[in-house]
C-alpha cells in the first residue's frame, strides 16, 4: 500500500478564466495547502501606488482620502518578481526607474456636468531621472517589463469599467504625481493580487474537523457545496476513521487583475524574496514627505506564513509545470 507521501502532488484545473482559476490540489497535506492559500493572498509581490505628491486638489475630498483611494487602484504587475526591485533593496536614494513607477493624474472639469475621475486618467510616465545621482548598478529590470506593466488594470481594454477615484464638478481640479512601488500584502492589503481566495476540503466533513450546529436536520441546514460531487459521500454505517487525513483541496483564486491567476498560483510555491516589510503608514499611502519618517523595519519570519519549505515547493513544481 502506498502512503500519501509517496504520491506525487497533483493539480487539476477545473476552470481558468482571465481573472480566476479554480483547481483541485491533491496529495499534499493540509499545512501545505493552507500555506499556499496564505502565500497567494499575502506574499505575491505586486506594484501599487505608495506615495502621492499632491499639487492641486480643489475637490471636495481631502488629500489623504484621495491618496488612499489611489493606493487601492490595481496596477498591472505581471512578472513583478523580475521587472522591478524593492525600493529598500535598490541602491538609489529616493526611488529610481528600477524600483519605482511614476503615474500622473491631471484632471480638471470645465463643463457643467459632474465628472468622474477614474483610474483611466492615471497616465504612466517614464520615471524622472535625477541627474545628480547615477545608478551604479543598472539592472535587468527594465527589459523584463511587459508593455502594460504599471498601467492601471483595464485601462485600454474596452468593456472593463475603470475604478472611480473621485467625482469633480466645474472648476475643480486634481493634479498629482503618484509613485508606485513593489510590495507585498503583508505590509498593506493593497499589494494583494487576490480579491477572494476560496479554499475547501472534506466537503462531507468526514474528518470531523468542524462541528455543524443545526436545529432539526443537519442535511437540510448545511447544504453541500459543489465540491462534494468530487468525493464519495459517507455511508450511513461508516465508522469514523480518526487517522484519515485530508487529501484533496479545492481552490478558487480570484485576482484583482494586477496579475493573471495563473501567475499568482505559479509564483506561490517559489521561495519568495520578501525578507522584510516596513510598518504600514496611515492608509497605506504616504503623502509626500511622510515616507522618509517611516523607516522602521520588522522581520517577517512568522511561522507558516511564507512557504520556506523548499522541498515541498519542489514537490509541487512538476505538477504545476505539467498543467502549464
Amino acid at each position: 500500500m502506498q502512503t500519501q507521501e509517496d504520491l506525487e502532488p497533483t493539480v487539476r484545473i477545473r476552470e481558468l478564466k482571465k481573472d480566476r482559476v479554480n483547481f483541485v490540489l491533491g496529495n499534499v497535506d493540509l499545512a501545505f495547502a493552507n500555506s499556499l492559500r496564505r502565500v497567494v493572498m499575502a506574499d505575491i509581490p505586486t506594484v501599487a501606488i505608495d506615495m502621492v505628491e499632491i499639487e492641486v486638489n480643489t475637490t471636495v475630498l481631502p488629500d489623504e482620502f484621495i491618496a488612499h483611494r489611489l493606493g487601492m487602484v490595481p496596477l498591472n504587475s505581471s512578472n513583478c518578481e523580475e521587472a522591478i526591485k524593492y525600493t529598500r533593496d535598490c541602491t538609489c536614494l529616493a526611488g529610481c526607474s528600477y524600483c519605482s513607477l511614476m503615474l500622473v493624474l491631471n484632471v480638471a472639469c470645465h463643463d457643467d456636468n459632474t465628472m468622474d475621475v477614474t483610474s483611466d486618467h492615471l497616465d504612466l510616465v517614464p520615471f524622472p531621472t535625477d541627474p545628480e545621482q547615477q545608478n551604479p548598478e543598472p539592472g535587468e529590470e527594465l527589459t523584463q517589463r511587459g508593455e502594460l506593466f504599471g498601467q492601471p488594470v483595464g485601462k485600454h481594454e474596452p468593456g472593463v469599467p475603470p475604478v472611480l477615484i473621485c467625482k469633480i464638478r466645474k472648476g475643480q481640479e486634481l493634479k498629482m504625481k503618484c509613485t508606485a512601488k513593489k510590495g507585498i500584502a503583508k505590509e498593506h492589503a493593497k499589494w494583494s493580487p487576490c480579491s477572494a481566495v476560496s479554499f475547501e476540503y472534506d466537503p462531507h466533513n468526514k474528518l470531523r474537523h468542524t462541528t455543524h450546529w443545526y436545529e432539526k436536520s443537519i442535511k437540510e441546514e448545511w447544504p453541500l457545496s459543489d465540491n462534494a460531487l468530487e468525493e464519495e459521500p459517507p455511508r450511513e454505517d461508516e465508522a469514523f476513521d480518526f487517522n484519515a487525513k485530508p487529501n484533496k483541496f479545492y481552490f478558487e483564486v480570484e485576482t484583482d487583475g494586477s496579475l493573471d491567476p495563473q501567475e499568482v498560483v505559479m509564483r506561490a510555491p517559489v521561495k519568495q524574496t520578501a525578507p522584510a516589510a516596513p510598518a504600514a503608514t496611515s492608509g497605506g499611502v504616504s503623502i509626500m514627505g511622510a515616507a522618509s519618517k517611516t523607516a522602521s523595519k520588522r522581520p517577517c519570519e512568522e511561522a507558516g506564513s511564507t512557504s520556506s519549505d523548499d522541498s515541498l515547493a519542489k514537490r509541487l513544481e512538476p505538477a504545476l509545470r505539467r498543467v502549464k
Binding site: M41, P62, E64, F65, V197, E200, E254, S282, S305
Partner: protein, 898 residues
Amino acid sequence: MVEDEDNEWGQLNLTNWKGLSATDPIKSVEDKWLLLPAFLKVKGLVKQHIDSFNYFVDVDIKNIVKANNKVTSDVDPRFWLKYTDINVGFPDRNEESSVDKKVTPNECRLRDTTYSAPIIVTIQYTRGKNIVQRNVNIGRLPIMLRSCKCVLTGRSEEQLARMIECPLDPGGYFVVKGTEKVILVQEQLSKNRIIVETDSAKGVVQASCTSSTHGGLKSKTYVATKKGKIYLRHNSIHEDIPIVIALKALGIQSDKEILLLTAGNTDAYKTAFSANLEDAAKLGVFTRHQALEYIGSRVKVNRRVMGPRRPAWEEALEALATIVLAHVPVKGLDFRSKAIFVATMTRRVLMAIDDEHMVDDRDYVGNKRLELAGQLLALLFEDLFKTYNSNLKNAIDKVLKKPSRTSEFDAFNTMRMQGDHLTSGFVRAISTGNWSLKRFKMERAGVTHVLSRLSFISALGMMTRISSQFEKTRKVSGPRALQPSQWGVLCPSDTPEGEACGLVKNLALMTHITTDVEEEPIIRLAFMLGVEDISLTTGTEIYGPHTFVVNVNGTIIGLTRYPTRFVAQFRKLRRARRFSEFVSIYINHHHRAVHIASDGGRICRPAIIVENGRSRVTSEHIQQLKKGTMTFDDFLKKGLVEYLDVNEENDTYIALYENDIVLTTTHLEIEPFTLLGAVAGLIPYPHHNQSPRNTYQCAMGKQAIGAIAYNQLNRIDTLLYLSVYPQQPMVKTKTIELVGYDKLPAGQNATVAVMSYSGFDRLADAPLDENGQISKKYDIIQLDGLAGVGERVDPGDVYVNKQTPSNAADNTFTGQAASVPYKNTPLTYKSPVSGNIDKVMISDTENDQTIVKVLIRQTRRPELGDKFSSRHGQKGVCGLIVNQEDMPFNDQGINPGN
C-alpha cells in the same frame, strides 16, 4: 324541518360568502403609519421647542409688555410713556457699516457672533404738550433656528444649501457667540393643581397647590393635618391657620355651610372634620371679622412704602385676596370661588384620611408640566424688561428733575441711551445657562447646554431631552421608575445610566407639548353647554349624588349633572375645531369631577378617532394623503385624528392595531413604534432585545462616527468627527428614514464572524515619545503669519504666528501706536500626531476684533483599543487586528471585516 336545519348548517359551513371567507382579514387602513411623516412634515422633529419659541415671540412677549406697559415719572406727573406694541424682527447683521444686512446662522457660527433679531417697541409718550408715537429698538433677542423668525424657515433644500445650512438639521437651538446652545426641556410638577400626599411615618395628610399667575408670582399653599386637625399653611403666614378660621375669613361664616362644603353628607368625613369646628369655637372665632383679625395678626407684613399702619383684618384680607392661592380669581372682594377651592382641598384631605388610596401620584405624567425655551425666555424677558423700565424711569426722572433745559425733553433720546441691557441679559443667560431672576425667586444653573455635534444623532437626541427638577441625590426610586403613563409620550428606552438614570428622559416620536390657550372662551363655552356657575351653589349641590364638578385648569367653575353628555358635546366641538385642538377634557370618577385643561406644558400625542367600532381614518383618506391632497391638519380639521393629553388618555380605550378594535374602542394608535423616541427608533428589531440593551444602545448610538450634517465641511468646530466612508444601514427602521439617518449615517455594514480566539482583550497606554522640550518651528508659516492650507503640522509647529502688545496690562497712554512693544504669542500644535491644515478663516467679530480660525485635520484608521459596537448595545474594544490571510474565511473566500 330536518332539511332546513341541514341547509342552515350547510350555509354556516360555506367557506365563501360574497367572495370572502370567514378567516379573511377585515379590510384595514393600509399604511396608516403615513400619518407619521405627515405629522412630522407639519411639526418637524423638534416642534416642541419651535412652537414654544414662536408662542413667546408672537403672543407671550406682547402679553408681558401689556402687563408692564406704562412708565411714569415721580417728578413730573404730566409725563407718561406707554408701550402700545412690541415686535421681534428678523435676524440681521448688527453692524452700522454693513451693506448687506442679511445674516445666516452659519455666518454667526463661523464669526462667533450671535444670531439675533431686533426687538422693536411702539411707544406713545408726552413731549411737552403733545403725544408722540415712535418705534424704538430696545435690544436684540437671540433667535431660535427654524422658528418663525428664522431666515431658514420655509426654505427649499436648494436655498438652504446656498445659506450653507443642512436641510436635515432640526433647528430648535440658538447660536450665541458662535456656539450652538440648547435650552433643555425642564420637567416640573403642574401648577394650580391640587396634589394630595400622605406621609405614613408622620401620619400627615396634606393637599398642596402651587399657584402661578401671569406676572410670575409663585407660592405654595398647603392644607394639612396636624394632630388630627386640619390647618391651612402658607409662606406668608407665620402660623398654621385652623381650616375653619381660614374658611370663615374667606366669607363662609356658618358652621353648617363649612361642614357642607368640606365634608358634605358623608358621615365619615363629618366625623373626621368635627374637631376642627370645635377648635375654631375654642379659639373664639365665630365671625368673619374675628377670623380676619386672627389671620391678620399672623400675616408677614413686608411693606416698603411707608404709610399708616393698617388694621390687622385689612392685612389679612389683602393676603387672602392676592397671595394665598393667587391663581384663583377674586373679583371685587368676592371670595366665593377661593373659599370653595380651599374647601375642596380640605375635602381631598378628608378623603385621603378616610381612604389612603385617594392620594395623587407625583410621578404620574399627567401631573407634570414641561417647561420649554419659550417659557424660560418669557420669564427672562419679563425680568429684563422690568429692570429696563425702572432704569428708564430713573433716567427720565434725572432729566426731569433739572429745573430748566436747553431743548424740550424727548424720552426717545433717553431710551436710545439705555444701552444694551436686554441684549446682554439674553446673551449672558443663554451662554452661561444661569437663569437667576431675583424678581421671580428663580435661581437655576445649567439650563442651557452646548449642542453636541458628535454625530447627527447626538444633536437630534439632545433636542428631545428632558431634564427633571428633582435632585439627583435623593434616594427615592419613584421619580426614576418607568411610569405606565409615559406610554407614547416619553421614550421608555432612552435614559442615561448611572446618577441621572430615569431623571433625564426623552420625548417619543409623536409627542407634542402644548402652549397656553386662553381659558375665558373655554369657560364661557362650558357655561353654554349647561354648566351651572359654582358661586350659586353650596355643599349640598356640589357633593350631591349625581353632580360632577367642572374644573378649568384646576379651578372649579361649576357643576354639571350630565358629565358624559357634557364631555361628549365638548369633544364634538373640539373635533369640529371650534376651539384649539390642544384643549383637553376628561372625567375623574374618583373625585367626581370633569377637568378641562388649556394650560401650556402638557404632554400630548395624536391618535386616530374610532367611532362605532370603525376607524374614522379610512384607506381613502390615506390615498389622499399619499397624493398630497390632504395634510395632517386636514385630518385634525375633519375630526379624524385628535390630540390626547396624558389625562385624557385615561378616558379613552385605544386599540393598538386595527383588528383589536371592539365596540367600546374610542381611538386607534397611529403606529406602535412611535412610543419610542428618535434615538431608540434607530434600533432594528428592538422588541427582540433585552430591554437594557436598548437603553445602552440609546446612549451609545450617539457616539458613532459618521456624517454630521450636509454642511459638515463648511463648519469650523473645536472638534469634528467625520467618517471617510459612512454607509447607510442595510437593515432600516421606519424611524431611520423619518429622521434622515439614512442620509446622514454613522457606521458601516460589517460582515461579522463570531468565534473564539486564544488571547486577551488588551488595552495599553500608548507610550509617548517625549524628547524633552519640543522646539517651536515656523517653517509652515506664510507671509500673513498663518500656516498654508494643506501644510503638514507636526507637534510643536507654529500655525498662527500671533503677537500681542506686551504692555496690555498697563493703561498708560504713550501716544505712539508704532512704538508699542509686541511679544510673540504663537499658537503651537500640541497633538502628538501630526495633522494637516484643512482650512484657514479670517474674519472679525461683532465688535470688530479680528478672528482667525485654523482647522487642522487628522486622518485616523482603526487601531488597537478603539471601541466598536453593533446597534444593540454590544460594544467592545478592539484587541487584535488580523492580517487578511489570517482571517477566518468560508468556502467562497469571504472574510469578515469588510
